[in-house]
């Protein structure tokens, strides 16, 4: 898993250096690449870590279904980096769960971390692309972090050890978080040859080469389970 994660992080960052030129009339309009990532049968675990020191059960939790996969371009078209905007995104904390569990953003984005539980949370990350620790804050409050470097950021709560999430920071906009069925869609792709990467729960599942021509009306790429 170490090598997969490393490779994944490198891939996220490599987009800047490996940009390929887009040509033809489809460059402005673009083509849609869509498909499905076959997700592992076993759902990700959201159970609390067992603690012998508890005097009873923890509060009941309604854990939302998680999104688990991202499909992205390993190399992006030239010009993909010019329209980079530092937008805003949000990762909620409710029922002792980060929602969404998986967030994909572009470099320069600021992510809000509102606390909607009745207890404290302490969001932190020790990941190299962005180390941060927001400290403890109560329900109704929110703190923010700006992500200026590409890579994979693992997010945790210092108080509730079962809480964890991923933030994938891209240098371009050619990515899509698959829905809970694994379906994804990347729009406005200019002609060119690209490497498409399916990333599932912390590891690169598969890479596929895809060619988009000016005549392409749409490209369908599926990623079966290996």
């Amino acid at each position: 898993m170490t090598s997969s994660r490393t490779a994944s992080a490198v891939a996220l960052a490599a987009g800047v250096m490996l940009a390929v030129p887009g040509t033809g009339p489809a460059q402005t309009r673009g083509v849609t690449i869509r498909g499905r990532v076959e997700l592992p049968r076993a759902a990700p675990n959201s159970e609390r870590r067992p603690s012998a020191g508890d005097l009873g059960d923890g509060p009941a939790r309604d854990v939302p279904e998680r999104r688990r996969a991202v499909v992205y371009f390993e190399t992006a078209p030239r010009g993909a980096f010019e329209d980079r905007e530092g937008g805003r995104a949000s990762m909620d904390q409710r029922h002792e769960t980060f929602v969404p569990h998986l967030l994909a953003i572009t470099v320069g984005t600021t992510v809000d971390f509102p606390n909607n539980d009745r207890t404290y949370h302490n969001v932190f990350s020790l990941s190299k692309p962005r180390r941060f620790d927001l400290g403890r804050y109560a329900a109704g409050r929110s703190k923010s972090v700006r992500f200026d470097r590409p890579g994979i950021v693992r997010v945790f709560c210092d108080i509730h050890s079962h809480m964890n999430a991923f933030i994938l920071v891209f240098t371009h906009r050619f990515y899509s978080v698959a829905d809970t069925d694994g379906r994804y869609q990347i729009d406005h792709v200019p002609p060119g040859t690209y490497t498409l990467v399916a990333w599932v729960e912390g590891a690169i599942r598969e890479t596929r080469s895809v060619q988009v021509t000016p005549e392409s009306r749409g490209v369908e790429i599926d990623f079966p389970t290996r």
Binding site: P50, A52, D54, P59, G135, R136
Partner: protein, 426 residues
């Protein structure tokens, strides 16, 4: 400390660092679960190295130093149906100073939640203490410092299986080192007990009403032993009652008040009274079970508080204890023995993964009449500990601390003890 042992301890810490450095990324970031989430697992490996504690300031009731602890622990929770869970924590503990290993089920209990939507839980078996706060903390991952609060670890001169025949014998025990001998009860040398122990759970049944997120919660337990000497079975025929009421007036603040009362001295004391040379020679010897009020209990009160905000967390805990000794002769100690321990600690996260912490701690003892005058029945102890914790990865925490202990009596009256600890958990 003999050099090979110290090298062995350092080797253990370094090994953990290397293993963690290589494998930190493959350690599970989520809870390990099997059988569709019905079985969940957690684990911890801790290695601590420190110079020998010649003054026995950190000796625990397993006769090893808390600053030289080696621990392997696995916690499992099996939930066959929604409202029933079996929880166990298995621990193997050793000592980088070379002491013996112990392996035992630290916790093993069944938890029942009769009503799904009500915060009402019943736990039975070897259960966590309801008294106080420090005894339930998963210490390796919830503390910056390596040492324990004095009230929860420091061994007093008081034993459960032997009692001094008079005040002078008890007061002299302050100067006799870790192991004490008394003329009534068990004839062996043994260490005393702390006010409450953080190293053993008791056996019994407990109920809790209210949960972690509610304004008020209350828990009570009936157990075989006492908070200072938990046991798998009652050694004196008397159960202990303990209770704690906790309130959370604002988010981040918890204040708890605890009470515990139970038979402290074992039946061995009563049955062996007339076998000891001192009591056999005493024509006025009385049955050990008799006291001024017919009880030989430990009665404890506790107050604990925690407040946290942002990167700061503060904790304070007061534990008091009052023991009644069996009357074994005309010179027996008739006054209750009292003690109180107060610990105040704070920690501050200065950088992601780096936390500073400090604790000041005082354990005091009440005075009793003796031929030496009115004196404290054990030597008061003061401890200051400061340290830093570094989360090298999320699952690997490295701590370094320095502890300064002083006490008014004993062969070693002060000690400065640096310590280094690595904890790998999942």
């Amino acid at each position: 400390m003999p050099r090979p042992r110290r090298i062995g301890g350092l080797f253990a810490v370094c090994s953990l660092l290397v293993v963690a450095g290589v494998d930190a990324q493959v350690l599970p970031q989520e809870t390990v679960s099997l059988i569709g989430g019905r079985l969940t697992l957690g684990g911890e490996v801790t290695a601590t190295v420190a110079p020998d504690d010649d003054g026995q300031f950190n000796t625990t009731d397993y006769d090893r130093s808390a600053l030289q602890l080696l621990r392997f622990g696995v916690t499992a929770s099996f939930r066959p149906v929604e409202r029933l869970a079996f929880v166990t924590e298995l621990r193997a503990e050793g000592d980088t100073g070379g002491g013996p290993w112990t392996a035992l089920p630290f916790a093993a209990y069944v938890r029942v939640r009769p009503w799904k939507d009500r915060n009402f839980d019943i736990q039975a078996g070897r259960i966590p203490p309801v008294f106080g706060a420090a005894g339930r903390r998963i210490y390796a991952t919830d503390n910056v410092l390596i040492g324990y609060p004095l009230a929860w670890q420091y061994l007093t001169v008081l034993r459960t299986d032997a009692v001094p025949a008079n005040a002078e014998e008890l007061i002299r025990a302050r100067d006799t080192g870790a192991a004490r001998w008394y003329s009534v009860g068990s004839p062996s040398y043994a260490a005393g007990v702390p006010l409450a122990t953080a190293f053993r759970y008791d056996t019994g049944v407990e109920v809790r009403i209210g949960g972690e997120q509610q304004r008020l919660s209350w828990a009570s337990a009936l157990t075989a032993g006492t908070i200072s000497s938990p046991g798998a079975r009652s050694e004196n025929g008397g159960p202990q009652f303990s209770t704690r009421l906790a309130t959370r007036p604002v988010t981040g603040m918890i204040v708890g008040v605890s009470f515990a009362d139970g038979q402290f001295f074992s039946d061995d004391v009563a049955t062996s009274t007339y076998r000891t040379p001192y009591a056999a020679a005493d024509p006025y010897a009385m049955p050990a079970a008799a006291t001024t009020d017919g009880r030989y209990h430990q009665t404890s009160w506790g107050v604990d508080a925690e407040y946290s905000i942002g990167h700061f967390l503060a904790r304070a805990e007061l534990v008091t204890a009052r023991w009644r000794l069996p009357i074994v002769g005309p010179e027996s100690i008739r006054e209750p023995l009292t003690s109180a321990g107060l610990a105040v600690e704070g920690r501050y996260r200065v950088w992601p993964g780096i936390t500073l912490g400090a604790r000041i701690d005082r354990l005091g003892f009440g005075k009793i009449d003796s031929v030496y005058g009115r004196q404290a029945w054990d030597a008061p102890v003061t401890r200051f500990e400061g340290g830093v914790a570094w989360a090298a990865t999320r699952n690997l925490i490295v701590r370094s601390s320095v502890q300064y202990d002083t006490r008014t009596r004993g062969g070693v009256r002060s000690a400065t003890l640096p310590a280094l600890q690595a904890t790998l958990w999942f």
